[in-house]
Every structure is written in structure tokens, then in C-alpha cells.
């Protein structure tokens, strides 16, 4: 009996651990996603476009997680926008999030006619990722390319609405 109890405990523990990191990932088309780029409240947003297949994106994710950890109790919101294929959510994206213990909110933007929406995100965006937008109602920053903790931290610290 004791062994069974132990076994059950281990199984239950395993499930709960999985549950903590098993985020539900909302899937948006661009029209549904677009309001995230234009919030007019006191919150400062960091929007990072990434994908599990994007080597530089995956490399910089820990920097974003560090930023999220630092500012999450303030008027701040980090959204990691995955551009992975919709068909890859279960097999690739969710396992990736679990494995890397990603805490920031992840959404999936699935709208294959990117030509119709890339310019609406930013007209300077050529289409490669990573891309990062940091904004609130008072300021706006856009970067096509990688960023590190110090850069993001500096921008947020300077512009955060207290």
C-alpha cells in the first residue's frame, strides 16, 4: 500500500509540475491580434515576435524572461508572439515552453498572408525575426534583430509609467 501511495504521489506531483508550465496558447489571426499593439493604458508592453525554429530568437528568450521577472509586479506586460506553424503547437511549441519553463505569456499569430499585416506591425519590418516592440501610450520602440537584458531593461526603466 505504501508503495502505491508513493507511486500515486509521484504521478500527481508530475502532473501538477506539468500543469504549471502547460500554458494554454491562444491562436490569433492578425485582426484578432492587432489590438495588442495599440493599447492606450498605463501599462508598458514588450511584444517579442519569435518562433521555436528561429535560432537567434530562442537564444534571446532567457533575456526576455529575466526582464519579465524583474517588472512583472509593475504596470508591465510581456507577450511572446510565436510565429510557429499552427500545426506545430502541440508537438513543438507547448513542449518547448514546458522544457524551457517559459513564464511570460505566449500567443500564436497564425495568419499566413504576412504581406497583408507585416506593414501594420511596423513598416520598417522586412519580415525576419526576432522582432521586438516596446511601447506604452507615451513612447514606442521597434527592433528587427536580437536584444539583451540590459538594453530592454534600460528602455523599460526609462519609460515605465509609475
Amino acid at each position: 500500500m505504501k508503495t502505491i501511495c508513493k507511486f500515486l504521489l509521484v504521478v500527481l506531483f508530475g502532473i501538477s509540475i506539468n500543469h504549471v508550465f502547460a500554458q494554454h496558447i491562444p491562436v490569433y489571426n492578425f485582426e484578432e491580434f492587432e489590438p495588442i499593439l495599440h493599447q492606450e493604458n498605463d501599462t508598458t508592453y514588450v511584444i517579442n515576435f519569435w518562433a521555436t525554429w528561429c535560432i537567434p530568437c530562442v537564444k534571446e528568450l532567457p533575456e526576455f524572461e529575466k526582464v519579465n521577472l524583474k517588472f512583472q509586479s509593475q504596470k508591465f506586460k510581456m507577450i511572446l508572439v510565436s510565429l510557429d506553424f499552427k500545426s506545430q503547437i502541440e508537438n513543438t511549441v507547448i513542449p518547448f515552453i514546458k522544457e524551457n519553463k517559459i513564464q511570460s505569456e505566449v500567443v500564436l499569430l497564425s495568419d499566413p498572408n504576412a504581406n497583408s499585416w507585416i506593414n501594420k506591425v511596423n513598416k520598417d519590418w522586412t519580415g525576419s525575426i526576432p522582432v521586438t516592440i516596446i511601447y506604452n501610450k507615451n513612447f514606442y520602440f521597434f527592433r528587427e534583430g536580437t536584444m539583451n537584458f540590459n538594453e530592454i531593461n534600460q528602455i523599460i526603466t526609462k519609460n515605465l509609467i509609475k
Binding site: 518562433a51 525554429w53 528561429c54 535560432i55 537567434p56 510565429l83 506553424f85 499552427k86 500545426s87 497564425s110 499566413p112 498572408n113 504576412a114 504581406n115 497583408s116 507585416i118 506593414n119 519590418w125 522586412t126 519580415g127 525576419s128 525575426i129 526576432p130 534583430g145
Partner: protein
């Protein structure tokens, strides 16, 4: 001497600006001599009968490139006959992405039986000159009076994920327009793709 320095300085700035900018539609594109997967050096001037070229910067590792492989093969088969062959160029530095190395290009080309040249831009100078920023990234060239003119830049079509749901065939529409002596419309589109990995 001072003037020489100033001239040099200005030309350095101009050339770096040109590199950063890349081509726009209507620009004259450069020919190149790049190594194919069969070991031969390929130049566009070797294709005497071509009316133009479908230059596609693409690679092994990028899922968008992989998603388009079959469509690129079909494009080559269709348009080579009417004078617009596909020339694929791998722009990535293999020290950054080992799966995009020359030997892995050979493997992939054999697996997929690529009917078109698959070239390596080893020093990445052609990639920079064209201004390719992602894979796949298309530059459609047309021969005119011995020059290569850029006629279309951008995506292959409007659905990377589901070929059966493509509604706009940007690239083939652009080639059809050229074959019809018309200007492609649109002549520039954007797409999501893998960033090109430059040597560090």
C-alpha cells in the same frame, strides 16, 4: 592626399549604404560566380537563352524554406522552359548554422532532387548586394539590353503553411506579367522568414 582620403571615405560610406539598402525594383542586379552543389561555378551569364532568373535566397534549416521546397521545384519546372530558371542561393554562414553547410546542401538537394542550381554564397557578398534579409526571399530578374533588371522582390505566394490555400501566387503572377510584356503588380511583397545568419 587629403582629397583622396575624403573620396575614399565617401565611397566607403556610399558602398556600405548600398550594402545595407540592397536592391529595389528597377535596379540593375549584379551577376555572380558561386559554387553549385555539383562543384561547378555558376554565373548568370552562362544561361545564354534565359530571359531572366528567379533568384531565391533559401537554405536547409529554415522551416519556411522547407515548406516552399516543393513549390520552388514546381516553379523551376514550369518556368525554366519559358526562359526563367530558378537559381537558389544559400546565404547563411555555416559556422552559425551548421545544417546550412555546403555538404548539407548537397545532402538536401539529393533528397529533394532539386532540378535547379543550389549555390553557396560563401562570403555572403551577393546576399548583401541583393539585400536579402530572410529565407526564402525572391528576386525576379529580367534580362534587358545585356543588363539584369530587378522586376519583383518578395514572397512566393500568400500562404507558407498551407499550399492548398494559396490565393495569391505573387511570384508566378509576376513572371506571367513579364512574359506578357507587362509590369508585375504587386512588384514588392513581404513575408515572414528566417533571418539570414551572417558570420560573427
Amino acid at each position: 592626399m587629403k582629397r583622396l582620403f575624403i573620396t575614399l571615405f565617401i565611397s566607403c560610406i556610399t558602398s556600405s549604404l548600398l550594402l545595407a539598402e540592397g536592391y529595389k525594383v528597377g535596379d540593375k542586379a549584379t551577376d555572380f560566380s558561386l559554387k553549385n552543389i555539383d562543384g561547378h561555378i555558376i554565373s548568370l551569364k552562362d544561361f545564354k537563352d534565359a530571359k531572366g532568373f528567379i533568384i531565391i535566397f533559401t537554405c536547409n534549416h529554415c522551416p519556411f524554406s522547407v515548406a516552399y521546397e516543393d513549390r520552388i521545384i514546381a516553379l523551376d519546372k514550369k518556368y525554366k522552359q519559358v526562359g526563367f530558371p530558378v537559381i537558389a542561393i544559400n546565404p547563411n554562414d555555416s559556422t552559425v548554422v551548421p545544417s546550412d553547410s555546403y555538404s548539407n546542401m548537397i545532402v538536401r538537394a539529393e533528397e529533394k532532387n532539386f532540378p535547379f542550381p543550389y549555390l553557396l554564397d560563401a562570403d555572403q557578398s551577393i546576399t548583401a548586394a541583393y539585400g536579402a534579409t530572410r529565407t526564402p526571399h525572391v528576386f525576379l530578374l529580367q534580362k534587358k539590353g545585356g543588363k539584369l533588371i530587378v522586376r519583383y522582390i518578395g514572397a512566393i505566394d500568400d500562404n507558407y503553411e498551407e499550399p492548398q490555400n494559396v490565393t495569391k501566387h505573387y511570384l508566378s503572377d509576376a513572371i506571367d506579367a513579364l512574359l506578357d510584356n507587362k509590369k508585375p503588380n504587386p512588384d514588392f511583397t513581404k513575408a515572414i522568414g528566417c533571418s539570414i545568419k551572417y558570420q560573427k
